[in-house]
Point group: C2
Chain length 623, copies 2
């Protein structure tokens, strides 16, 4: 009997509305572990290249890992993956919450969904079974109503539901999947994939608990994680992820006014401290986690914001705050709630609005294009209206909902200069000119620029940070602006680390700066749960596998090395803020990319993984 996982994959064919259960060999779990890596296994084997991402042929995978649903804190994350309608390449996004433990308790490790139902449906998974149910009455409904109705009709208040809002139904390319109304698989437009399949929701409930190989060790490691957690330093529990807003602004790395500046005068007004002191009503959390970094905020006037939809994360604060020149935390919270209600990715949505604001400022867009909205930076009302317009696909919102490249092309007049994206997806809010390793991460990430995979952020450049890299054979911190071969080396190791976190569904806030669960702690924990004699070597090979599988996926879809780049803006001097004048050197960056390819065993010109390298990763089936 397997430990930690169920050994069961739920397969759903929406064309025929049929369900089956696959019971893979242990080796599948050993080689791919879970999350995006396991999803890539199915996508690469079963999805025909060049498929329409919004066609019935696209495959949508919800995947936990071999440790999801076990007791340690920070294991609540899971991946949804498919071909992305936003980038046209590998689409993947993670979310926390309570959904994946519940799926594991219901007896499944992952769900692989194909086809398209000929009517709105939802999937009901419970206690080793699954059924496809009509969702005609739910279509068009917001998440709260949808969740209430499903729980009511299934007669269980503890059902966990991942669903889409109106944006996903309407195939907005920036639509996300939401669970528990506030945890989002945000990026790469996976909500639209769900919508294209006429799949409104996946409701899960299960009563089993995961068996582990060494219960005593699991308890001990879980306790150690909690006992050694360093809240005072990291303070994400107290202040939420937006604890960094003010600091970033001071350091000049808070993306402001569509990445023209790195400092924002309203940073303090929108930051985590202000949120805690004003609108925060509760610290939320995910399954089994003591950190409680999630926010639940309430606003009465001038906008009604319901804490049931959570509260804005850092990315959201930057998206609707500094990026749009808005220093009103209540407005930001409203935008956040609207995104969760419509099922919109806050990063892409905020970025699209910031982009449209710059277009408006530069005269590319006029009031005629905006249905009369004065779309200046700083116009709070206009920002909120635009979120609704994108969610409803109305007017300018309809154009933006098709994605930033589509919109830039439609607008013309040089709008593409203001479209800050990589591979068609807007860039998250970590200023690459101020942390160049993150910039390299944006350029090479298969899923487009990804705030959940940004190797070598400034933490690792500190003495305290680098100490944790000892198990990787890294001894010396490197400057955040460095992008030479030594940095690329660290970058690659840390990219594998991020890929491992995302594969296993480990939250960075329990994994990163806290000793026990970092690196060897992760190994110990996977050993204790699964009983496998694994190692950091083995686990990082799985992560390396992820990088290569995602690369192969994108190459099949027609991506080339030319897609591994950054928007021109990052090679230009910053226009304002603490790092005013700072830019990335284009040639240094090109050399770093070449080094990156070479270190990974890819052709330095084409970025194509060498056959031998794939074989070395036990991926010869991909050659």
């Amino acid at each position: 009997m397997p430990y930690g996982y169920n050994g069961k994959i739920l397969r759903v064919d929406l064309n025929s509305e049929s369900i089956s259960i696959e019971e893979p060999q242990e080796i599948l779990y050993s080689r791919y572990l879970g999350g995006g890596t396991l999803a890539l296994y199915y996508l690469l084997r079963e999805l025909k290249p060049k498929s329409d991402p919004l066609g019935p042929e696209n495959i949508l995978v919800f995947a936990g890992s071999v440790i999801s649903g076990t007791p340690a804190a920070g294991l609540s994350r899971f991946s949804v993956a498919a071909k992305s309608p936003e980038t046209g390449g590998f689409g993947e996004a993670e979310a926390g919450g309570w959904w994946i433990p519940e799926l594991k308790f219901a007896g499944f490790d992952a769900i692989v969904i194909k086809g398209k139902a000929n009517r709105p449906v939802y999937l009901w998974v419970h206690d080793g079974q699954a059924e496809i149910r009509d969702a005609g009455h739910l279509w068009g409904k917001f998440p709260k109503e949808t969740q209430d109705e499903i729980r009511r009709e299934l007669g269980d208040d503890r059902i966990r539901i991942a669903l889409i809002g109106p944006a996903g139904e309407k195939l907005a390319k920036v639509a996300c999947i939401i669970n528990e109304l506030k945890h989002a698989n945000g990026r790469t437009g996976l909500g639209a994939v769900m919508g294209s399949k006429n799949l409104k929701a996946i409701a899960v409930r299960g009563k089993k608990r995961m068996e582990v190989a060494d219960g005593e060790a699991v308890q001990r490691l879980s306790k150690r994680l909690k006992d050694t957690y360093e809240e005072p330093y990291f303070s994400v529990g107290n202040l939420g992820t937006s604890r960094v807003t003010t600091m970033f602004s001071e350091q000049g790395i808070l993306p402001t006014l569509n990445f023209r500046k790195g400092s924002f005068e309203g940073a303090e007004a929108i930051g985590g401290e202000t949120m805690s002191k004003t609108i925060l009503v509760r610290r939320g959390t995910c399954y089994g986690c003591f950190v409680r970094c999630k926010r639940e905020v309430q606003v009465g006037e001038p906008y009604f914001v319901d804490p049931i939809y959570g509260g804005p994360e850092y990315e959201t604060v930057a998206a609707f705050g500094s990026m749009c020149g808005i220093d009103d935390l209540k407005a930001i919270s409203k935008a956040n709630q609207l995104c969760n209600a419509y099922g919109l990715d806050t990063i892409s949505t905020g970025s699209l609005i910031s982009f449209a604001m710059e277009c408006y400022e530069k005269g590319v867009l006029t009031k005629r294009d905006t249905d009369g909205l004065e779309l200046q930076f700083g116009n709070t009302e206009a920002m909120i209206k635009m979120v609704e317009k994108i969610g409803n696909r109305e007017g300018l919102g309809d154009i933006l909902a098709e994605g930033i490249c589509h919109a830039a092309k439609k607008f013309g007049k040089g709008a593409e200069n203001f479209a800050i994206h990589v591979k068609g997806m807007p860039v998250p809010f970590h200023e690459p000119r101020g942390k160049v390793g993150v910039g390299l991460g944006y350029a090479v990430s298969a899923t487009g620029p990804d705030h959940m995979e940004f190797p070598h952020d400034p933490w690792w450049a500190t003495e305290a940070g680098v100490t944790l890299l000892r198990p990787l054979g890294i001894f010396e911190p490197l400057d955040v602006f460095d992008i030479g071969p030594k940095k690329v080396r660290i970058f690659i190791y840390l990219q594998q680390y991020w890929d491992l976190l995302n594969t296993l569904g480990i939250c960075m806030f329990t994994a990163k700066p806290f000793g026990p669960q970092t690196f060897n702690g992760i190994v110990d924990y996977v050993k204790a749960v699964t009983g496998w004699e694994t190692s950091l070597f083995d686990l990082l090979k799985v992560a390396e596998r992820h990088t290569h599988m995602a690369r192969i996926f994108n190459l099949r879809e027609g991506f080339t090395a030319q897609d591994d780049t950054l928007p021109d803006r990052f090679f230009q001097p910053m226009e304002g803020g603490t790092l005013k004048g700072k830019k990335i050197d284009r040639e240094e960056f090109a050399r770093a990319l070449e080094a990156y390819y070479e270190m990974l065993g890819w052709d330095t010109e084409t970025g194509v993984p060498k056959k031998g390298k794939l074989a070395e990763l036990d991926l010869d089936w991909l050659t």
Copy 2:
């Protein structure tokens, strides 16, 4: 204060007869650990390419590791390294015994020797000090007399001495270094390098003990290793390394008559069981080891064999037994003693004699060339005479002592067809046609074909063997004849494993088939000793570093991809034995080599490591 190591490297300049002590940063030990890897660090930095291996410019390094001299069994091994006079490339050989623990107790982790003394000298290292002493009275003496005299004049019977015999003094390219009269750093001709420096011996004695970071863990892991040791299966303790002789013959992989056959009718007569039942007087051992695999044999008639010189290992049994067509264990034991007394590598010496025998059989050599010896296969007396002739550099022995390529050239008449070597060094006695992974190892090893680095021997092709590979992410055994990409993958991981064993000085007989100390056990032990938060990832990167550093060394000396090959004989059918007719497919083998290069990040045509790969290994200083 460092744990496990002294933080002190003894530097000796024989030109000026001066001594100094280097105290490197911890990072040097972390990055290179010890053994051949640490030696390569010094050789690559300080030895000018194309130096004469027997000139004063060559650098000779004796290196232990960060765990040498700590309590667990099987940590008695150390490396001697220099530019090899036998191959012209990287020369390195390991030996067990008691010498390296004693050096650590004397306060040093390694000795780096340059220059040439203008008179015979020996080095006396004790309790943090060192002195160069006259060895005029020792020059020309055999090891036993030398050892007795040094111990007498220094007044301490427990001094451990590594020394050369007459062959090393006379610069025989197959001369080795011997410690305690019976443990040999056998291969690559390092005894000649020592001789060329006028350095007769290194005597060491120390009274300190190594401090460890976690004494309790060190004790626990050492005990676990002992408690779980599976003697009945592996039986190397009971029967010595030549336990495999009979089995190999049955399987058709016992090199016989200069690699023409794989089975030998006299196998049982020369094997480990016979040795145990007849001439064995004691099971010898190394520092701290319970396995006691070493042999001490005694013969009265017709040859006097003194147990003080030990007894033949498997390689020696095959060298003078099946390779020479001799089924007389007493004669083999005599040849072994002569090799230890003259300071000759038994593998190269036996191979040279077997080669000469085939030359004699084929008419390339006649009685005129052999000083009247009837040098047929099976002629026991002639074999023993030839060992002495090589040791004394007399007649035919003088030619052979210059190495197999030199001799083949000198003999002419197609003799090169019978010279079974790679990179100028005779092949050890593991038949590559019967374990093709080992053949690949012979072809690519930087030190020439190496019996201490033969990845994927048949053990790993068993279900029991492959189970131990779980920490490497290897789940399925592969056939011994397989040489496809999946095998090359396993090969590379196991090559790193071997490089790690040789770097840390871990004996395969405590490391290999025994659970605890394999892979994760090694990591746990290094952690416990050093206190470093290392990992299998980190340690295998050091090993990968070894492979690349050795490669760079050889490239600097003019080696090319063409040197990574096997003698033609292995691409021809075996002439006899269980595997009669078996050969290696030349094209398959070429593809395996290409895959090997590609997996390592080397150019597939030239075998040159890519710049990016070197940077990834933190070896950008070599680009």
